[in-house]
Symmetry: C2
Subunit: 379 residues, 2 copies
């Protein structure tokens, strides 16, 4: 069976065929004389696809509303959700084309890798959210570790700056050396400030973004959607039950009609009318059950679209939040390197001023023993 | 006693006074009739300082070469070195004025703080040199400690960069995160390079500058100068011995002469001539001993000047070497901060490229479960 080409829509229908719209907005075609129904747009009889006859067991024509054509399935159910069969449907358009939106790609359940259970598409989306929260937590942990490293480094630099090595160097050289040692304490300060800002501006936001309520919210979504699926299951069961009851009633009517025709039994026309009434009632019951099922499915559908779009939004927010805070990390790092460099300025200045002659003067003034030079002894 | 003012040199000497130059280049004045000698330039008799008489015990005029005027000291010895007395000398000019040179200020010994021993001025200079070597060593130690701190920091950063925290983050955010983690390994590299250069360009030169030979050289100087001082001591002793011998001879001559005059004994003129000869000989001996002493002192003097100037030069060299290498330290630090900053560039680039939409596409492509949307069930 060949799906219609898009241009076929412009070709007029062959004589006797009419076009109708199904509940979910799909076109179907009915042969007004034979009552044949088909999804495919009929062409000229010569090219027309093989018509599908509807009939009951005794050959009487039977009217069956499309898209469900008795004997040829147009849809199937998987885990109690009703999907169109590929050949039976015109191409579905994405709800949000080009956006790779969550609401377009997670309708089906998938088999667990182990193969025993299935996981709903929505579950997959939820897991993604929870994993995102985990990522955020691990990133915060990473920053915490960086903070510890910085504090250790600062502590070591600070300790070293206080050790009195070469403390006895005096003069301009001594000053430059003392400032060099002090610069390590300044560096330590810089790194402590860095670690402090890392904590308040990166780690803490990453840790506290969304907090514990997030998991609760996700659980709520999870339960809500799962409940809607459960409803679908029970309503599907009702449909199957009604369908069976209808089949039973129809069979009963058929048998009774046959018996009347061949005057097999003493069944009166009254019995047949009763059987026919029960059959009609069973048909109405089935229609009601299918309606309830479709309502439940629509409800689930709506909630899926709404909630998956919310999860999509939350994920965008998460990515942007992380991006922002990682940028803050690099900003703090740059700052730190600049401040660190600036601790060298006083050192360089004093090194510039180192003056051996001046240092000699200072030292000699303090340590000279005597400037009177010896003279010859005389007799 | 007032030292002469500089202008006094232009005033002609009073009658009978002559000006002579001593061995070490100092002027002294002799009264040609009285044979008085003085350091101070005589003025007109009215303002002339009290002349200094030379005489022996019996009043006979005695010629004593200045600056040593028997009975009134013009110089004194301290620890066997002969120094001019302050009032007896025209102002000594510094050998290297305005330079605070070692060769000008370390002539005298100084008392040990404890007060029991003395330390020569040269010793003080030597100790300064050895202390300088110690300073250099301690600075190298300080750099070594910095190196250890850097290596620890690098090791910690490197380890952290490898911990798979948030490794499951994918897409553009995952890339940026991976690069951020990698940047810690890059930072570790930068700090390792820093520590490596610290070792080769700062620590090592500070440690090896002058090496072990330096202490040996200092010891050599120490012993050499000390030996010259010892020579001075022994030659001073010889002078004292000769001086005493002369005094004895002179006394003996005096006694014998007196005895002849009062015909106290049967001493002949022969005896007196002998006594006079011995006296003269003793005088010659004394002169010779004084000469030898002065030679030894001159030798010590020259070595003091030469060696102390060498120590001065070495100290200038030391200060300049340290200044140069501490500048190298600050250069390496600046470099390091710059390289450290540059490790952020790829991180910032990738953070810039973080794209939630792209990441959604990548994730959805991989994890989608199905894009067929459910349809209504039909009867």
């Amino acid at each position: 069976v060949v799906p219609p080409s898009p241009e076929a829509d412009n070709v007029p229908l062959p004589v006797g065929w009419k076009c109708y719209m199904s509940a979910e907005g799909r076109k179907y075609y009915v042969n007004t004389s034979s009552k044949e129904t088909t999804w495919e747009r009929p062409c000229t009889p010569a090219a027309a696809p093989k018509p599908v006859r509807t009939h009951n067991n005794s050959g009487n024509p039977m009217l069956v509303f499309p898209p469900h054509i008795f004997g040829l399935e147009m849809s199937c159910h998987i885990n109690f959700v009703t999907f169109p069969l590929p050949h039976s449907t015109p191409e579905q358009q994405l709800l949000k084309p080009s956006e790779w939106s969550y609401c377009d790609y997670f309708w089906a359940d998938k088999k667990d890798p182990q193969g025993t259970t299935t996981v709903s598409g929505f579950e997959v989306l939820l897991q993604k959210q929870l994993k995102g929260k985990q990522m955020q937590k691990e990133m915060a942990e990473f920053i915490r570790e960086r903070i510890k490293i910085e504090e250790e480094y600062a502590k070591n630099l600070s300790k070293l700056s206080q050790i009195p090595l070469a403390a006895q160097e005096e003069g301009t050289l001594g000053e430059a050396w003392a400032q060099l040692k002090k610069s390590l304490a300044d560096e330590a300060e810089v790194h402590l400030k860095f670690s402090s800002k890392l904590q308040s501006e990166v780690e803490k936001p990453l840790l506290t973004f969304r907090g514990d309520n997030f998991k609760k919210d996700m659980k709520k979504y999870d339960h809500h959607i799962a409940d809607l699926r459960k409803q679908l299951v029970s309503r599907y069961a009702a449909v199957e039950k009604a369908r069976k009851a209808l089949a039973d009633r129809q069979k009963d009517l058929e048998v009774k009609t046959q018996q009347l025709e061949i005057k097999l039994s003493n069944k009166t026309e009254e019995d047949i009318k009763k059987a026919r009434r029960k059959s009609t009632q069973a048909g109405d019951d089935l229609m009601r059950c299918v309606d309830l099922y479709n309502q439940a499915q629509s409800k689930w559908f709506e909630e899926m679209v709404t909630t998956s779009l919310e999860l999509e939004r939350l994920e965008v927010e998460r990515v942007e939040m992380i991006q922002q805070h990682l940028r803050q990390y690099t900003t703090l790092r740059r700052e730190t390197d600049m401040f660190n460099q600036s601790t060298l300025e006083p050192v360089d200045q004093l090194l510039q001023s180192v003056d051996p002659a001046k240092d000699r003067e200072l030292w000699v003034r303090e340590h000279k023993t005597g400037d009177l030079r010896p003279v010859d002894m005389d007799i």
